[in-house]
Symmetry: T
Subunit: 152 residues, 12 copies
Amino acid sequence: MGEEKKILLVHGPNLNMLGKREPAIYGAETLDDVNRQMTDAGKQRGIAITPFQSNHEGAIIDKIQACFGTFQGIIINPGAYTHTSIGIRDAILSISLPVVEIHLSNIYKREPFRHKSMIADVAVGQISGFGVYGYLLALDALTHHLNASVKN
Amino acid sequence: MGEEKKILLVHGPNLNMLGKREPAIYGAETLDDVNRQMTDAGKQRGIAITPFQSNHEGAIIDKIQACFGTFQGIIINPGAYTHTSIGIRDAILSISLPVVEIHLSNIYKREPFRHKSMIADVAVGQISGFGVYGYLLALDALTHHLNASVKN
Amino acid sequence: MGEEKKILLVHGPNLNMLGKREPAIYGAETLDDVNRQMTDAGKQRGIAITPFQSNHEGAIIDKIQACFGTFQGIIINPGAYTHTSIGIRDAILSISLPVVEIHLSNIYKREPFRHKSMIADVAVGQISGFGVYGYLLALDALTHHLNASVKN
Amino acid sequence: MGEEKKILLVHGPNLNMLGKREPAIYGAETLDDVNRQMTDAGKQRGIAITPFQSNHEGAIIDKIQACFGTFQGIIINPGAYTHTSIGIRDAILSISLPVVEIHLSNIYKREPFRHKSMIADVAVGQISGFGVYGYLLALDALTHHLNASVKN
Amino acid sequence: MGEEKKILLVHGPNLNMLGKREPAIYGAETLDDVNRQMTDAGKQRGIAITPFQSNHEGAIIDKIQACFGTFQGIIINPGAYTHTSIGIRDAILSISLPVVEIHLSNIYKREPFRHKSMIADVAVGQISGFGVYGYLLALDALTHHLNASVKN
Amino acid sequence: MGEEKKILLVHGPNLNMLGKREPAIYGAETLDDVNRQMTDAGKQRGIAITPFQSNHEGAIIDKIQACFGTFQGIIINPGAYTHTSIGIRDAILSISLPVVEIHLSNIYKREPFRHKSMIADVAVGQISGFGVYGYLLALDALTHHLNASVKN
Amino acid sequence: MGEEKKILLVHGPNLNMLGKREPAIYGAETLDDVNRQMTDAGKQRGIAITPFQSNHEGAIIDKIQACFGTFQGIIINPGAYTHTSIGIRDAILSISLPVVEIHLSNIYKREPFRHKSMIADVAVGQISGFGVYGYLLALDALTHHLNASVKN
Amino acid sequence: MGEEKKILLVHGPNLNMLGKREPAIYGAETLDDVNRQMTDAGKQRGIAITPFQSNHEGAIIDKIQACFGTFQGIIINPGAYTHTSIGIRDAILSISLPVVEIHLSNIYKREPFRHKSMIADVAVGQISGFGVYGYLLALDALTHHLNASVKN
Amino acid sequence: MGEEKKILLVHGPNLNMLGKREPAIYGAETLDDVNRQMTDAGKQRGIAITPFQSNHEGAIIDKIQACFGTFQGIIINPGAYTHTSIGIRDAILSISLPVVEIHLSNIYKREPFRHKSMIADVAVGQISGFGVYGYLLALDALTHHLNASVKN
Amino acid sequence: MGEEKKILLVHGPNLNMLGKREPAIYGAETLDDVNRQMTDAGKQRGIAITPFQSNHEGAIIDKIQACFGTFQGIIINPGAYTHTSIGIRDAILSISLPVVEIHLSNIYKREPFRHKSMIADVAVGQISGFGVYGYLLALDALTHHLNASVKN
Amino acid sequence: MGEEKKILLVHGPNLNMLGKREPAIYGAETLDDVNRQMTDAGKQRGIAITPFQSNHEGAIIDKIQACFGTFQGIIINPGAYTHTSIGIRDAILSISLPVVEIHLSNIYKREPFRHKSMIADVAVGQISGFGVYGYLLALDALTHHLNASVKN
Amino acid sequence: MGEEKKILLVHGPNLNMLGKREPAIYGAETLDDVNRQMTDAGKQRGIAITPFQSNHEGAIIDKIQACFGTFQGIIINPGAYTHTSIGIRDAILSISLPVVEIHLSNIYKREPFRHKSMIADVAVGQISGFGVYGYLLALDALTHHLNASVKN
């Protein structure tokens, strides 16, 4: 725990439109706002957060693989790929790092095809429905998980 | 916000066995431990938390209804009733209070019949998989939700 | 037909919130109002109506069983238990009395899980969608059914 | 309410066989008996009832459309078309009149394909299982619905 | 191509209510308006268009069969029969003429039972969601198809 | 058995196109040919056969009902209505006459929606796949059934 | 057609119990009776019929294969194997002979698992529900099929 | 094995109606009769049996939990809760005692919703269809299981 | 009851590998051990038990049929054929003898395709999960059933 | 309407193979041919068309997002991504521009997995089955839609 | 590896028709050709191959069981039993030998019921679609597997 | 056959992690090892193998298309895209080259969503479960297929 931990923060497709897209569902904050809040909150907890957004499934897989051996955990909002990407699921399995899944909206209030996550059962846990604040909850959840693991 | 808020903390069936039952999945803390942590954490946030546990679906419905007009929100781990109780769902709808759903284990790693929640789409959001720490996340999530609502 | 008939009027979970809960769907009359109208209407037809409400599946089963040998019929709005309770269904089968099922709202306009009734095929018939007035229709239906049976 | 209301009473396919067909299920009264009872009961309530029976889906659609602008409501037993006719459903939607759906037998006691109604969710409500007496209940239900609408 | 082509324009059940029925979905133009636009547009392309509307599945089948040997193609909006009529499908197969299927509304935005067409895979193609203008698109599509076939 | 028996021979939608439509599947004989063969074969067996074809579901229902009390049995090829018509099924039930179902093509070799018959379980039996010759088999089957019933 | 044709008559499992087993469904004739009627009827048509019964799926496959090159067709009542045997289906495909499928009872009136035949779509046609008489219909159907093929 | 074993005998909803309810299915013995036979049979085997019946799912869960640490096994006929109660399933898991599931009637001969047990895969085994005698079989099965476990 | 009863004991495919195959699931006793225990236990009850094992579905059907008229009941562990054999089901139906179904392992703890039995609803009852001891329970169950039938 | 409108024309995966790939289904014209026809047709209507093709889901999402604020509409043939891409669906939702979906082949004539579109219900409408000519129909449809919107 | 290994080569039902049956799918080589090639190829690798073909599920189970203790592995083409035989699956499990599953045709190009294998998940691996050459691939695969196991 | 053949070897997402990821399932060899073995084995057979790995679906489609006209075949392990990519399927169809599908693990032993391949029915055949050695089998299979095609 003496050394700074490194966490990857992955935003999936269309999350770069945050603040522009469907504000009734997702709120007015932009992705830059979110990343700034998260890196600040990380610093307060001695954690360096690397934000990453892509609309490309392959680019997200590349990035997750690149964590191998240098990062301690991942917070991911896989966006639309939540429901279809076996590739992101396999990338998570391949690096053996704890992952927290987060969704801005309550996915269980939306179309049925959004109720199934390909990621949920390979993640530590899932947080859904608390808007941008959910990212901070995810950070707390992952920090707590990493500390608990260290103790054991 | 000047006045103390009141939150009901509902634990569904078999959660009274916490610490005794399947510790590999649920950990060694008892329900009393959880309730003590939660009431303490509540006090720090100016929130009075009323814990309640029952194995009876009807008793949980009674308790939720009783919140009407006196409580500001509910944190609920509906346990086994998560997946079957339309009655608890209807009780939540009937009192028009924000509800946060929380599960100790990652329900998406367990039997298929535990993947479906009758509560999720009438709750603000859902937190699953972070063990006892998830209750604290739920408290943060609900507090944040209540404060955000007050501001608007 | 010389003697007064006795009918049990069962209200399932959350119906005690009637008039308070989702008035856009269920109207402003309270359950007490409904029970008063029904006992009055019963008197006019020479029928003693015993109203009963519970949020507990077990309590409803207990009550239905208690009709055995002393009541002539049941009007039941099983609320949320309509869609899941095999126990209430079995209780109805066990006492061999005619049952009329009634729903305030049109259950076919609501969520798909409300379209299936575990009670419908062990009842004489079903009335759905006419609000509080449906109880009076149910009373007429059951009265007519009892009289027709007597004649045959 | 000063003026006489007009209600269309639609009987779907094979209901002209009433009294001849499967009396164990449907009773011995003929469709003429039913229509006579209904027009009489209508008169007592200041309502002119126009009975109509056809085995032709198209003819039933034609008739429902013809109500537009001159009738105040419809009582319909769509018979076999209950379970398959999107055309009758669309006709009901096109005329914006309140419709009460009625079935002689308890459709939930019969073959699974009779459990689904294409009409139920565009009707005010549904009455099923009370034999010919169900028509009188439907008339009361529709009359009550029309009067309630007038008051509001 | 020297001779005038003949095209049947079939409107299924309830399309005679166009302009009267659910204008928010279908617009304010009547079926007569549509037929006039289509016959005019046909004339400009040297095509005689015969409009036909019926609420009767059998009548539509009769009419489609009657095209055999004298018409060159069909534009059909089968309305409610789109989703259930194997008979209209078989009639199309029996006459071996190119058929263009058209829907006023976007059927994929509506109830799930409207997403399936029994006609689509025996038609040349399908146009859905462009309101009354879709008929003109269908005419262009069929004209182009007939000309292309002639060339080959 | 002294008196001549009367059998109705029903041909459903599009069977009037027989000989013109998809000859690879249905052969070159016309419906008139079939009817002539059947009435001849009927005469040889002392049976008067009344052929009837319609594309209208309602007309077929009307015709089946009209057999009541004057005919001894029905041979029916319900065509496209085989798979969807509860109305024809109910008409058969309403007249309590033995019915033989026949299909020209082997319906189990065709689209999945043709594998399900709404008629099969209310018929005496089903014959499928033997082309026009199947009608003669159906006549033999029904004749044998009627004679066997008489004997018992 | 100068030479005598040879037809294999296959009876599947439990058909050797015919006449002993569930006479209400299958009648009182034994399998020997059926085979005698069939060989007699064959002789009248210049056809040599070889009856075969087995409770063993493998033995039925062996027998069907043995027809290859020496028989002209098969009549088969596959009994319980109708619904599950891909092996019998493949055997039929492997010998390229016309097959007529026959069932004593109307399989569509029985348990749902009897509604699906693995044989039907590789047979010429299917006859079901006419009891023992169905075998004679099958013989006529196969004879007619063989003669028709010869003519073409 | 020197000490007396304690076994809980749980009867679910409506089993208190035994002997009164549907005797054609369940026989004429009352629940008191069953309990007397079982406690007698237990005594002969050196086992103290505590009978318990409730119509309340929650009460059954409470009772099962109360076995923890003082009982050696459970015989349960969960009645209607067999098919829906995840709560009873979880209670069984929470106490880590061997459970034998028993049903009076053969549940596989009844409605499809009775074919699925939520308890079966967390029990040692299941006995179904032998009426009241099944309880004695269950006692033998559980006794044998407990003795076998002791030996190992 | 004076005469000795005869019971057939059928073991399905792979049960001859008992004691060799997957001992963690099935235990170390061989099939010969089981048969010896069963014939001994039979003798004590005045019952002659004929054991039979085969890997051939047809051979099992043959054997069951051969019981007709000489045996009084059957105990069967159909092994893999439990889940697929309509032929064994039909054989049981054809001989009208009481059958008890038994499984060594708890089939509800294993692969989903083992949860469905084609035999269960034509048997008196089912016993599953008690290992080799289950055979003795089955013998008790069948003996009790036969004695009870004799008394009535 | 004075200013030139800008429309994005998106071609999904493998459409760059047009003219080379499966010409029997897709015709001989290349994608360059299509783009040239479309830009020409656009010019005639005062519309600047920007063609874009990619095999990368992410690149298509990027491009659609880039339309935001500068384009007035999109014509899209999402190719294989039609049936699986929630990401393209979300991108369309995020930019709030009218979209017309077009398919060269009739997708309802092809494999079942091509019958479902993830785009259709967020598009204005869908055109399918008219080959390359369908692009021109799509342009007309979108132009008409844009003009109609301007008028209102 | 000093000693010669023994491998059983199992061919399921209808594979004895190889070379005679559907040569367009299966090629012209006979089963004897295949067995000769395989025994030759085995010799070159120091492996004795015992070919076996049967149309009887039970005979295949018998043969697989007989490998126990004397053979080192099995190559199996279960033919039609691939998709239904739990008995062959159980036999494979009972002998604890490595099994390679092979299919001549690509089973994924054929009827849907051939896409599911009951054997695949208890085999080492599966080879499908390479015709007779697939047997040699299977031999290489099994040889490699056995050698790899020896080394570890 | 005089000229060297060119084969593309495609590895899908996460296969670059081979040797690092889940070695219990996939073994310790890296992708470079695999590619070296394959190019060596190719040289021995006069085949130039071009290895390619990408986590991007679009990049794999691009690469497959680029084979058109210059390569003779493809060996592909589509990894996670096996189960979802219609785009890769379409790319394979567009270039009309023989493709062999290979999986390291036995996909039928893993999660249900891995049992379905979108590629299998457009490939020559499939090899699954033999680890890295499966690539050599695939090379043999494709080589044999290419040689066989040349001969015909």
